[in-house]
Subunit: 561 residues, 2 copies
Amino acid sequence: MIKKSPGKGAVRFIEIEKPFLGNNIADAQRLEQALKKELGNKLGNQGVKIPWYLLKNLPSFLRTWDYKARAVLFKDRRGWRLVDLLAPCLIDPVQIKSDQNRPDQIKTDQIKTDQIKTDQIKTDQIKTDLSRPVLGVAIDLGTTRIVIRLLDLESNQILGEVGFDNPQVIIGPDVLARIHHSNKPGGLDQLQGLLVDGVNANLSRLCRENGCDTKDIYLVTGAGNTAMTHLFLGVEAFEIIREPYIPCVNIPDTLMAREVGININDKGLLFVFPNIGSYFGGDLIAGILFADLDKSRVPCLMVDVGTNAEIVVGSRDWLIACAGAAGPALEGGVSKMGMTAGPGVIDRVTIDPVTREVNVHTIEEKRPVGICGSGMIDLAAALFLSGMIDVRGKFSEKICGDRLRQIAGILFFVLVDKKSSGTGQDICLSQIDLNSLTSSKAAMYTILEVIVEKTAGLEFEDLETFYVAGTFGSFIKPASAISIGMLPDIDQSRFEVLGNSSLGGAALLLQNPSLFDRIMEIRQSITYVELNVNQEFMTMFSGAKFYPHTDRSRFPSVDPV
Amino acid sequence: MIKKSPGKGAVRFIEIEKPFLGNNIADAQRLEQALKKELGNKLGNQGVKIPWYLLKNLPSFLRTWDYKARAVLFKDRRGWRLVDLLAPCLIDPVQIKSDQNRPDQIKTDQIKTDQIKTDQIKTDQIKTDLSRPVLGVAIDLGTTRIVIRLLDLESNQILGEVGFDNPQVIIGPDVLARIHHSNKPGGLDQLQGLLVDGVNANLSRLCRENGCDTKDIYLVTGAGNTAMTHLFLGVEAFEIIREPYIPCVNIPDTLMAREVGININDKGLLFVFPNIGSYFGGDLIAGILFADLDKSRVPCLMVDVGTNAEIVVGSRDWLIACAGAAGPALEGGVSKMGMTAGPGVIDRVTIDPVTREVNVHTIEEKRPVGICGSGMIDLAAALFLSGMIDVRGKFSEKICGDRLRQIAGILFFVLVDKKSSGTGQDICLSQIDLNSLTSSKAAMYTILEVIVEKTAGLEFEDLETFYVAGTFGSFIKPASAISIGMLPDIDQSRFEVLGNSSLGGAALLLQNPSLFDRIMEIRQSITYVELNVNQEFMTMFSGAKFYPHTDRSRFPSVDPV
């Protein structure tokens, strides 16, 4: 298991100047000098924090290791800190042979904070297992789903990934219900415990599957919305949902992972991405980092279509953010459509504009059991382009023909007949479902219009790249979303799917802890705009409820039958 | 128990801006803003660290306290940090009446770092004991004796003090023996445990005697020599005594007091003064701070006569330090004379130059049982001034007469006859004792000469103030020390006894945590000079072995019979 130093990663190979009579400064200070040299001159007067528990046996280790070591480093608001100091062996394979008895790492089992009484570790007692990797973990703290990615911090390779439903769902499906629960006695701890236990169980599984140990994990980075950040850290969240909507904390300090109960190396750190406010969380800052939005010379836009629609537009010079969480127009959100993707779920729909023959594609090509959000957008686009729904988003009884049924006064479009479905039931889209989609797509477009045109003073055409983030967004086909007037009518090549950008940003920080500064800069430079649902907004929203829009000149490429 | 805010102390009364819809930044960040405002604009971009465990219930506390609080603050290398946040009640007595149910402080019993699972504390569950003080403790970590001073951090008043023998004495009387022991398996922990247990026992006693609780202590500052610093923190000390004499750490980070086992408030911090090197410890930096040596416009000198002689000379522009720990001339040290002060110990001696009648004064005026170091200096001065010892430091048989006895070829001067003594034995000074004193006083003078004249290029006359620090030094009478040529012959008004300056400096930092910066500046600005015991030194030493000196012009005021 030979690894290369990643250069700019969290693990650095360092050489410490040996002491002699003319250079008799303390071991800790010589170690700090070596770390500062490795980290570059940008540090200025700022030192590198070396925690007390790494000092205890430092003299023995430095001498045993011939003044060479691997340093696990991380950065926080107060600068660089040493997380652990390990034997130098894995870096330079040539040196390993003669150094089989070198201690691998300072024992940490003894670190108890109530009263630390570590036994003095002698060189001959030190464990000599040299094959232990240095791992890091990035976590996307989603309201619905948690995704964990495991990385080797020396090679910066991704080792594995695991996703699981947020265990807090048993308390409530949305953050509102959970925050209310957190205000009951013991509720906050219960919510935190559910999540932490879920993370721990999946960390164990992920490590087991990759032949490593959770004790090899030294760094955890997490990104989530503001509420999830609070519920993960176990800090009071109730004021987030009560006017004037105050988070407990926007910039959580890096802390020991064990402080919140995360079972990794005892010296391991946890960093949770900062929030901007109650409605703009660390997941989006992670996304901006991942998309390099803050480095772009020309304006770009990122939209995260999750439970809410969160939008950032800008460049390296300015960033404007807006989250569509408030207002009656947005009730129900923009993605409360369809079911979660899974086998048999319809994810693509095409309708022949001439024959009006409907074709569906299902995940894993199983018999259809339902339709997911992106499938629904596809369906709506196909229905509109083939004339089966009109510009108001109403089913055309004349053109739909047999496929329309009316039950209790409500029209249903039968997408898949019960004979062909996997459930034994018809798979239908009701006019009510469609109205809901219409509202959602109109809300999405209106928010985009407000932030890009009204706030930033740009045209959609000015956006070089239109990043679509989030799991839901990953499956949306831009052509379909444009056809129904959900996304603006720009060249499709400008759309770029980011995938799980929250996880991606959290993983980037593991691979390059210097990015911490950029995270703080992003947070500082964002102008957050409250979505003002006033008369003007409602007028724009009404226009956007048409297919594709009341102002057809906005969608020149959309050409229904 | 109404207290005033000390203004610049560790406890500050703060008001936090209330949130409203236009100002909805997070509670933690608003708290930080208030702290930064209180601490002044010098902070720049640097924040105030608010530990994670103070965040958990911050929203409830701020609202219960109407956005007012007392903040316990401390500073370290990385800037200010909040130690605890307490109810605002004690500051403004007018406000107390209506606020009898305000929570006093965030419960800390639950803070366990292995896995922190604090119960959510509701306002009505919070303890309402408003009479708890905020205390701090300064410790002089002496090789022989430990002294603890208890302070109220709101009034900055000293509440009490306790001294006790360093419990490590059972391992070895000097640091050399203890460091050797620390290198044996379990030895380091044993030494640390002895000291920590002793400190804890005496903290309990001190608090009990002052009607308070060790849980009310939030800050501990300690100062000791380099070896004691290591043995207190429990970090490897062995390299200090092995060439090239490398301490493990010179600038220990501030840490949680419980990390080294000190039983105070669970959130309490421990700061140990930094060392310059193996032979120049934090006790001296505390002394420089206490004497304001680094603020003096004109050169001053501070000498700490403890186990070694440690000297600092300088002003606000430069500081030169030297420690007399090395070299054969100094073997036995400068204070290895006589017994420890106590009842019946002779602390003052006068001899009538005409009648040669000897008068002794004992502590508490008990019957004499022995003589302490400062008494011995008095005795030697009186003997020399009355002609009973000659310029070579030898007893004059002719002049001493009856008082001299010869046993096994060695001359003894009978200071107190067995009939008058408290022991039933004669109290004597042998020629061997006197030779030892002669060597010591010569070493002392030579080191002073080296540092002041040879190194700093000054005359003794240039020193505005000559500070004498340390317990031993406190009892030396300058006139006597000058008479025997131990201290230079400058005007007696220039000598200033500092007392326990190590403890004094440690206490100052509690009263004004901003002094942390000065401590780091002092450490940085000191030029440490190794005492080079070469031929020139030995020549100077030989000259200083005369009474008062071979160069009589150096001591114009000394006029023996």
